[in-house]
Structures are given as C-alpha cells and as structure tokens.
C-alpha cells in the first residue's frame, strides 16, 4: 500500500515538473499583445481590428498549429505613446515579461515604435507594426537582419508610397479639372499643417508639381490645431489656385474643410486629410466638407477584393464606424500571422519569420507581399502598387464617403486598368465648376 502511494507521489511530482518546465504542453491558446494608444482613436482601431480577428478565428475553431487547434487570446496594452514614449516601452516590456505574449501587433508614433521594436526584438517576438509609416522601421530589418527580422509592417505602406499615392490623386483630380473645365494653367496651393512630418512632403510637392505641368501658387502652413483658417483661405483665393493640395493629420482638417465650404472657395481639395477619413467628418463640418477628397484605406462603398465587404460590414456592425488603417491588426493577425502559423505548424518565431517574409496573402485592402531592397535584402516592407496594396482615394459626396480612385487607373500606358468595385466618378464642386465655366 505504501509502495503504491509513493508511486502516485512520484507520478504527481513528474506531472507537475513537466507542466512547469514544458509550458507549451499545457498551452492551448496563442497570446497576442495589442499595443497602441488605447485612449485615442488609433489605439481603438488597433484593438477593434484584433478583436474581430480573434472572434472570427476562435469561432472557426481556432488556429491549427501542427494538428492541434489553439484559440487566440488578446492582451491589451495602452502605450500612451502620444504623451509618453517611456510609457510605451514599459507597456511592451509588460507584454513580453508578465503576459508572455507570443506575438505583438500595433504601435503608432514612430519614435515610440522604434523603442518598442528594440524590446520586442530583444525577446525575439514577432511584432507587426500597424500605424507608423516611416521607412526607417524596415530599413533596420535590412541593415541588421538577425536582430530586427521579427518586425513586419502591417499597415500603412511606408510614407514614401503615401506621398506617391497622394501625388497620383493630385494628378487624377487635376486631370479631371483640366478636361472638364478647360483650365490650361493649373495652379496648386499647398496647404500643410505646421508639423515636422509634413515638411518633407511640402518640399517634395514643391518639386513635383511643376513636373506635372502645374504651377505652385504658394505654400500655407496653418497650425495643426487652428480653429480659424479664413486668412489662409482668402490668400489662396487671391492666389488664383484651382487645386488645394492638403497635408493634414490633425484637427485643422475640419475647420479648413468647413470654412472653405462656407466661403465657397473656388478650388478643389485633394491630398491627405485624416479627419476626412472618419465617419464623423460630415457632422463635424456640418455638411460643408462636401466634395473633399482624401487618401484612405477603407470605405463602406468600396470593395478592393472579395474580403473587403465582409470585413468592413462586420466592423461597422460591431463598432458602428468605418475601420481606419490601424484596424489592419485584423489582417495582420487573421491573414498574415495565422496563415503562416498554419503553414509552418509551429509558434517558433524564427520558423515563422521565414514563412511570413516569403508568403503572399490576400487581405481586405489588397495583396500583402513583403519586399526586398535593391541589394536583395529582406526589408519586411509592404509592396505598394497595382496588384498589391494601392490605397484608396475617397470623396465626400452628400454625406457619403465615396470611393473615386483608383477608377480606371493605369500605372503605365501598357498596364491594365484598375478599378475597385463600388467606385464612382469624382464630382467637381458646383461652385468651382461655376467659377471656371467659360
């Protein structure tokens, strides 16, 4: 009897030791850390996208990891990175050491993401960046691959491509104005908020616009938080500009659009206006933001492919708003990460890196394939262009965010036309058409 009891004790001790020393045996969930400024709309996007991915994956039975079904578990970490970069690094450390997450998605402010990237790389955890657009984040991957190979960009495509997209949008709108209003010498007013991130864009725009056969009418730099821009708008009107190229990420995007609408400034707006990407823009401008054009990622009316509408509709139903690009944590988890895990059959980060860097996956915004640089080094940078990710150009049309670009867009003379489902024609504001009608 004594002997049997001691066998039981040994067995129990062995089981306990195995449980402690080989936690993967007992592990039946994949822990994903979602890090972002959770008190701000960007962080909410990170979280909402990840929640949707988790719910869909778990409802379908979980992730098949080498024959074993594992559920996804999310851990939220508020990086507070807009206010405090130190806080962001603490949140990342918390995810790594206390929550012991397997993967991380999120991040927004470049300086904070770089610091968080270092921590994630130290722990050799795969980190999908879903907010910061600076190319440096991926240049680090190419320059020191062994250290930074665990970082992948999930959204948006890098800022160089954001600039190229916005110039394409400018050419698109200018082309319509030229053809419909017969304006021979197009003048463009560059209006960028007074922020450092906009400086290189202003310089690039000043250099590129003349090459497009247009004239730069002037550069205006209102405060990012300006509430009155009538002085700038009056000056733009006096400059004779027909197009206003906007570069706004802050709240100034609202008064600028509203007052331009109220004053019926005879110039169309095109470029980046982050406020105009939000559903609340129409109400915020009291309808005066009609006909504003901005770069965007999602629109309720547009389907980039067959995955877009199910995602956007479910997102709108669940959270009551159109997803923004930080909600691409959804695609990072569901399409990039889970696909790679199921293919590799493991959670081993090194093995997954090898799969993710070479895989081609379809996501609601397009096809994700990671690029290499000119020297053939892995960059883990999103490929931009026709057939991959291109982004959207949307215009507010009577309270709706309508997709207007790419609409029969040709990257080159021989390239096939690209149009997404649900695209509509760009509308020239009536007062602009009236002003230049001959």
């Amino acid at each position: 009897m004594k002997k049997i009891r001691s066998y039981w004790v040994i067995l129990l001790v062995c089981a306990l030791a195995l449980t402690v020393s080989v936690p993967a045996w007992a592990k039946d969930t994949i822990k994903i850390g979602v890090i972002g400024p959770m008190q701000f709309v960007q962080g909410k996007g990170h979280w909402n996208g990840a929640v949707m991915a988790m719910e869909e994956i778990n409802a379908a039975g979980g992730v098949n990891v080498g024959g074993k079904k594992m559920k996804i578990e999310l851990v939220q970490a508020d990086s507070n990175e807009f206010l405090n970069v130190t806080d962001a690094t603490n949140a990342m450390e918390l995810l790594m050491t206390r929550h012991k997450v397997d993967f991380v998605v999120g991040g927004f402010r470049t300086e904070a993401v770089m610091a968080m990237q270092d921590i994630a790389m130290e722990y050799k955890k795969i980190f999908f960046g879903a907010g910061a657009a600076h190319p440096e984040l991926c240049l680090r991957v190419a320059q020191d691959y062994d250290t930074y190979k665990y970082f992948f960009r999930a959204a948006p495509f890098n800022s160089n491509y954001l600039v190229r997209s916005s110039f394409l949008h400018l050419q698109f709108v200018a082309g319509i104005l030229k053809s419909q209003l017969n304006i021979p010498n197009m003048k463009v007013a560059i209006v960028a908020e007074k922020a450092m991130w906009a400086d290189p864009m202003v310089t690039a725009a000043e250099g590129v616009i003349p090459k497009f056969g247009m004239e730069v009418a002037g550069v205006w730099r209102p405060s990012p938080v300006a509430t009155d821009v009538t002085a700038e708008l009056s000056a733009i009107q006096r400059s004779g500009a027909q197009v206003i190229f906007t570069i706004f990420s802050s709240s100034v995007g609202i008064p600028f659009a509203r007052q331009a609408g109220e004053l019926k400034i005879p110039a169309v707006q095109v470029g980046i206006n982050v406020e105009a990407q939000k559903d609340s823009f129409w109400e915020a401008t009291q309808g005066q933001g009609n006909y504003i054009f901005t770069m965007n990622t999602y629109s309720r009316e547009v389907e980039q492919n067959e995955l877009t509408a199910p995602f956007v509709n479910a997102y709108v139903e669940r959270f009551g708003e159109t997803p923004t690009y930080t909600a691409d944590t959804y695609a990072a988890i569901k399409h990039s990460l889970v696909t790679a895990i199921e293919k590799a059959g493991t959670l081993n980060a090194d093995k997954l890196v090898e799969v993710i860097r070479d895989q081609v996956v379809k996501t609601p915004t397009g096809v994700v394939q990671y690029m290499k640089d000119d020297q053939g080094r892995y960059l883990h940078e999103l490929t931009w262009g026709p057939g991959y990710l291109l982004g959207l150009g949307v215009q507010w049309q009577d309270g709706k965010m309508a997709g207007v670009w790419p609409n029969k867009f040709k990257a080159s003379a021989e390239a096939p036309e690209i149009s997404y489902t649900g695209m509509v024609d760009y509308i020239i504001p009536p007062w602009v058409a009236e002003a230049y009608k001959k």
């Binding site: 939220q76 970069v85 690094t89 918390l94 050491t97 770089m114 680090r140």
Partner: protein
Amino acid sequence: MNLLRYYLRKVFAVLKNEVLVLPSRIVVLLFFLSMLLMPLVVDDPYFIRILVLASIFAIFAASWDLLSGFTGQINFGHALFFGVGAYSSAILNMQAGLPHWVTIPLGALVAVAAGLVVGIPCLRLRGTYLALTTLAFPIILLGIVFAFPGLTGGELGISGLTRLSTSRTVTYYIIVCIMLVSCTIMWKVTDSKIGIIFHAIREDELAVKAAGINTILYKLMAFCLSGFFAGIAGGLYAHFMRIAGPSTLEVHMSFQVVIFSVFGGIATIWGPVGAVFILVPLLEFFRLWPEFRTLLFAFVVILILLYMPGGLLPWIRNKVEEECPRCKIRNFAARRVCRVCAAEMR
C-alpha cells in the same frame, strides 16, 4: 586589522547614534539597501525596468529641485537639460563612436553649457517671467533638432545607441549606483554653505546681495549643477532606451519633473526622489484600469497637494518626527525628551 576594526566601530557608532535614531534616516538606509539588494531578490525584468527608469527620473527630479526648489529659479523647461544630455550622448556615441562611459559625462558637460546658455539671459528674470522664459528653451531646441535631421535624426531621433551593458542586472547596478551617488552629492551640496546661500537667494536675493555675496555666480552655479545632473539622467535614459528622440524635449517631460518634485516636497532633494519611486510604480499599477489611469494619477496628485501642500514626504516626516523646541534637532515623535539636549519635547 585594527584599522578595519576602527572603521567598523565607527560605522556602527554612526548607525546607532545618527541613523537608527530617526525614522526618516532609517527609511533612507532601507531605501539604499533595498535598491542595492533588489536584483538578488527579484528576477522580474519588468519590475527591474521600472526601477531603472525611476532611478533615472529620480536624478532628473532631484536636479530640478536643486535649481528651482533651493534657489527659487522656477524652471518650466527642465527637459532642455535632459534632452541636451540625451542628444549629446547619442551623437557622441553614434557619430564619434565613443563608449557610454565617455558619452554620458560629456553629455552632462554639454548640458552644463546649456545651463549657462539658459542661466545668463535669465539672470534678470524672476517668478512667472523666468518660468515662461525657461519653458521656451526646450521648444527652441526642438526646432533646432527638426532643422538638422542629418545630425539629430529629426522626428525619429537617434536610435541604436550602445547598451550600458548586455546584462540587465549590470545595467540596473550602473544606473542605481549613479542615482544613489548623484542624489547624495546633490543633497550634500544643498546641505553645505552653498545650499544655505541657495536658500537665501530664494528667500531674499536683495538681502544676500547686501551681505556681499555674488548672487549671479551662485545662480549660474545652480543652473550648471542642475544641468549637469539632468544631463547625466538624459544620457543614462538615451543609453537605456537606446534612442534619443524629440520626446526627451517635450513639455510633458518638463512638467512631469515639476509634478514629481512638488508631490514629494520641494527644497529637500529626497522628496522628489521619493516621489518618483512612489509615482512611477503607481502609474504602472494603474494600468489595471487603463481607461482611468491618467484620471487616477491626477486624482492622487491633486489629493496629496490639497491636503499636504508641502509635499507628501515632508508631511509624513513631520508626523513621525518632531523638532526639539530648544536645540532644533529632530527627534522621533514618540520621544519625551530630546535625544541631544534632553529638553522636554512637549
């Protein structure tokens, strides 16, 4: 052997007669010991990280107290020194390839120069005017940082700095030891004749001038000393985070240090240090309620300042210790007679 015995006996005597007689001194002793022994007891990288960051901010907060608390030169732009230290260390490390044990002191010396640059034009200013002028300096530097992105990295900052050590424990000890030494030096400075003059300048500068003391020299000295220690903190921060970015110069950084100092009790040095070690972990603890984190933090700070306007730590100290009415020596509050002059305490 006899010498060792002599010193041991001396240490024991100091401990018995000077340290263990007052609760505040016992707390300081325990703080020193716990900071030095912590990695032997706790093996949690997150907790160690919080302590490391708290140590860096403790130097930073104490340096503000040295300038603004003691001398009364209210500085709302203290992030300037921190940022200058961080950026200088980063540039020297990345561009000149110098090791951190060279870049951090050199960065601190550049911060001293920044102290002079700020101090000289501010000599004629007082109160609100001085506070607002100092607030402008980090903003000016931020503009310079963005104007020369080739050197400063622009909005990204300078990243990839060498680590203080590859071992977390060694990093911890480097930073904690520098913090303990720096804060002790600052405390000793304020406890010296220089400290008395700093006090006097704050209370009545005209009277100090009338006494034949060159107040300009002492005010500049306060700016330079404060800049030096804030620069050390900035350099440590840059090497620990491996990045020196625009966030080191932001207004938030300047106000944070004021909050730490006022919360802990200004013109004490130990007050701001204690406040950092209370507030930094507290802010992390509030992550349990992420939606209310900032609100809870603000509530705690306001509550303390409302009921303890002199700061939390001096308030606690005054509850457990009393000054002798005759010789002004501090005694444990429970004592009936003074430990030095034996006068009745009540």
